[in-house]
């Protein structure tokens, strides 16, 4: 089967489109997450999404609804605001206290995971609440549904719009927030917006491709790009390109090797990361990166 035949299979095409959408929105977001030393943020918000999914599933069960009926037709409608509020809570705690960003994330991470486990444990097995715990944790990129693609496309457009408008100011604030403030930038407002976008991107992506995969998409392409980039715009574009290329390569490899797709995508990203680290290590003696 050649590549065109491969992606004529509906489940492979949907997996590719979802993966590409997530790569495109996680690429620029990951750049700011990595540069602001918030590498734990992807994991923290993904686990907040898990807590929110648990809460949503419990509400569906508690109100006697079945998944796909009325307002709570998906636990995502609870997970999305829950993750958004968690993201804003992390931004507030790290700004209003002396705690580092990663410490604040760690607190919300633990509480959300505990909440998710508690909620899911209260739901009898084999109850249809619109989400499967195992899928949520480990991902089902090959199980992406048409409706999921709409969520991904909408979120992708929203985050791209945000980064087109705010990239320059975010870059300046990330380089030196004090310097940016002296030039009149509202750095705290930008930080809240960045965290809010991260909350929405991670919640939607976690539902579609799983918690582990979105955490990888957020960090590995951006970290790889950082090692070989001379400018922030190079890092941003390269981060997106690595996400897109590893999605394509990982899906193809997983199909032919008959191994799990999500894991293959992450391992493909890891190969790129190792390659970037080697390139960086070999060129470091010269003092400047290669691109």
């Amino acid at each position: 089967m050649d590549l065109l035949d491969l992606f004529s299979l509906p489940f492979m095409r949907r997996a590719l489109l979802a993966g590409l959408g997530i790569a495109v929105m996680a690429g620029p977001l990951g750049v700011f997450v990595v540069q602001q030393r918030l590498a734990f943020l992807g994991d923290g918000l993904a686990h907040a999404a898990f807590g929110g999914m648990g809460l949503g599933a419990l509400l569906i069960f508690g109100f006697g609804l079945s998944a796909g009926t009325i307002i709570f037709h998906e636990p995502l409608w609870v997970a999305l605001p829950f993750t958004l509020l968690t993201a804003l809570g992390i931004a507030w705690v790290s700004g209003a206290t002396r705690l580092s960003g990663d410490t604040a994330i760690g607190v919300f991470f633990a509480v959300s995971t505990a909440l998710g486990v508690m909620c899911f444990s209260l739901i009898p097995p084999d109850t249809d609440v619109g989400v499967d715990v195992f899928d949520l944790l480990f991902g089902t990129i090959l199980g992406v549904r048409r409706g999921d693609l709409l969520f991904v496309a909408g979120t992708c457009l929203l985050s791209l719009l945000f980064f087109v408008v705010a990239w320059g100011r975010l870059g300046y604030a990330t380089f030196d927030s004090e310097l940016a403030r002296t030039d009149g930038l509202r750095v705290r407002a930008l930080e809240y917006l960045l965290f809010a976008v991260a909350g929405v991107v991670v919640a939607v992506s976690a539902l579609v491709v799983g918690i582990i995969l979105i955490a990888a998409y957020l960090i590995i392409p951006a970290a790889s790009a950082q090692m070989v980039s001379r400018s922030l715009i190079q890092m941003t574009l390269l981060s997106v390109a690595i996400g897109v290329a590893t999605t394509l390569a990982g899906l193809v490899a997983s199909f032919y090797l008959d191994v799990p797709s999500g894991s293959t995508v992450v391992l493909t990203q890891a190969l790129v990361f190792v390659g970037a680290a080697l390139v960086r290590g070999l060129t470091r003696r010269g003092g400047t990166p290669v691109i």
Binding site: Q35, W167, G168, R169, L170, G171, Y172, T174, F175, D176, E178, L179, A180, R181, T182, D183, G184, L185, Q226, S229, R230, S231, L232, I233, Q234, M235, G287, T288, P289
Partner: protein, 245 residues
Amino acid sequence: MDPPALHIHHVTVRFGETDILQDVTFDLERGQFLAVVGPNGAGKSTLFKVALGLIRPREGHAAVGGKAPLSAAPGVGYVPQLKTFDRTFPATALELVVTGLRRAWPARVTRAEREQAAATLQRVGAGHLLHRSLAGLSSGELQRVFLARSLIRQPAIVLLDEPATGVDFLAESDLYDLLERYQTETGATIAMITHDLAAARYHASQVIVLNRRVHGYGLPEEVLCDECLRGAYGHVGHAHTLLSA
């Protein structure tokens, strides 16, 4: 009559229970070169942050060129302490200097911006650094790039927070030459935090000795005296040796 370049009026800044600045008052006239000296923790950087609008004082107020600090931002150039700079950030000297024009990080630099940045880097003796990565620059080179960033808008007042920290004596000497030349050419006001009393003595036209409150403000030869220094530092140590060298 023009308002003073820097007007600090009964400014008190408190963090928790501690007064960082206590009732600090002074006016800096236009065209002066001010050196702010004092021991570590004296509130020197806090004073600059009040002037830049980054910290709102508990009491009193500040004005820059007659305007509220943040409104005055376009006319102010600021060179931060180098220790605040993240060297993992992928950036070139050109991009950093252009932030001084755009107040945003540039995705793409226009030809006009490139020419202006190149000219400003040239002016501070760093034209050859235009396309260099910031991560590979020495402290002295970085200092020049940050200085170029602060001067690209031709500000009427330049604030420098310990600009000579981490640079060798030649680079330090060049820095003061550059600042004095810029001042002569543009009539700008310069205010600089320094621990180097000799530099304050020989390059500044006004000196303020600060340790939470003002212990002396005036001409260097009047202010860098036993009484003021002892008031701010507790004792004068080898200050006489440094000042008479």
